[in-house]
């Protein structure tokens, strides 16, 4: 017996982050590897849901600080590390949105435009199309927008999204289906 917990991979793919998580549990400096791996994705998630770079930075910072504080308690018991991390980000985003509603200001109507993207070389029509998609995304209900961002920006599976949102895999698939149908309607030509 080595004293280290071995990955539990029954019924699912092994967690690719587990070795780094185990290292971070005994040496906080090893958390840097996970930070570098997930900074972009956590920030992207926060950005597309909060619609503001400053708020996204704030939520991202809180997410990683909370994750660093709690990583020692992470257990490989069915949920991957990245779904655990995005669950923390999800809570931070929810807190930010609650604080925003208390201030009675809302930025959700704004269309978040990533700095430097899309590339002007792609042409005006591509930029316009991207803007239309982001506007359509902003008009979706919260749970549908969450699913779209987690699926298409962060690349999480339906099962992982279920862990993040506290729903079943089946419920996420249905949400995803409905979100895409709604987006298809919103993006239909000459609507």
């Amino acid at each position: 017996m080595t004293g280290r917990r071995e990955p539990r991979a029954v019924g699912r793919a092994p967690d690719p982050d587990l070795a780094d998580v185990l290292a971070a549990q005994t040496d906080p400096a090893a958390f840097g590897e996970l930070y570098r791996r997930y900074l972009d994705r956590v920030y992207g998630y926060c950005f597309y849901l909060l619609g503001d770079h400053h708020d996204a930075e704030d939520a991202t910072e809180r997410t990683f600080l909370a994750a660093l504080g709690a990583v020692a308690r992470f257990r490989d018991e069915g949920a991957s590390f990245r779904s655990w991390l995005f669950r923390i980000a999800h809570n931070q985003v929810a807190n930010a949105l609650r604080a925003r509603s208390r201030r009675r200001t809302s930025r959700l109507d704004l269309v978040p435009e990533p700095v430097g993207a899309p590339d002007p070389a792609d042409g005006v029509s591509a930029a316009d199309d991207a803007r239309r998609v982001r506007q359509a995304l902003a008009s979706l209900a919260d749970d549908r927008r969450q699913v779209v961002v987690l699926r298409f920006v962060d690349g999480l599976s339906a099962r992982e999204i279920g862990t993040v949102l506290g729903r079943s895999e089946g419920a996420v698939r249905v949400l995803q289906h409905r979100a895409l149908r709604e987006l298809a309607g919103l993006l239909a030509p000459d609507d």
Partner: protein, 123 residues
């Protein structure tokens, strides 16, 4: 008898294919989608390409990295102050009032010293 997967399940499989780099038409065909659900795979592809990963500022990345390694003090105090502008204004007003009071007292003391009685007292 084997149950036929629902459209939501097949769409999810098509999205997995799409994420793995398959063309939308191929992803839809592989998942056994036709008609409207097939269009949804194309919409998904359009959404995916319209939501690029936003760039993280290098300054933010470096600052947070330093905080995580314990090299930089907490920014929470500043964030707290910015979230409570009313308290910040009260703090500023109290600080200003104290400053004005101290200045007035100093002027008053100096004025008293310059009178004959004051010069006598401070001799």
């Amino acid at each position: 008898m084997q149950q036929i997967p629902t459209v939501a399940v097949r769409l999810d499989h098509a999205l997995d294919e799409l994420a793995a780099g398959a063309h939308p038409a191929l992803a839809a065909a592989t998942a056994g989608l036709a008609g409207e659900p097939r269009v949804l795979v194309e919409v998904a592809d359009r959404v995916r390409s319209s939501l690029p990963m936003p760039p993280v500022s290098s300054r933010f990345e470096a600052r947070l990295g330093a905080r995580l390694s314990g090299a930089v003090p907490s920014r929470d105090a500043v964030a707290w102050a910015l979230r409570h502008p009313g308290r910040l204004i009260v703090t500023g007003a109290v600080g200003s009032a104290v400053g004005v009071g101290v200045t007035a007292y100093a002027v008053w003391r100096k004025g008293r010293r310059s009178t004959p009685a004051g010069r006598f007292l401070h001799r």
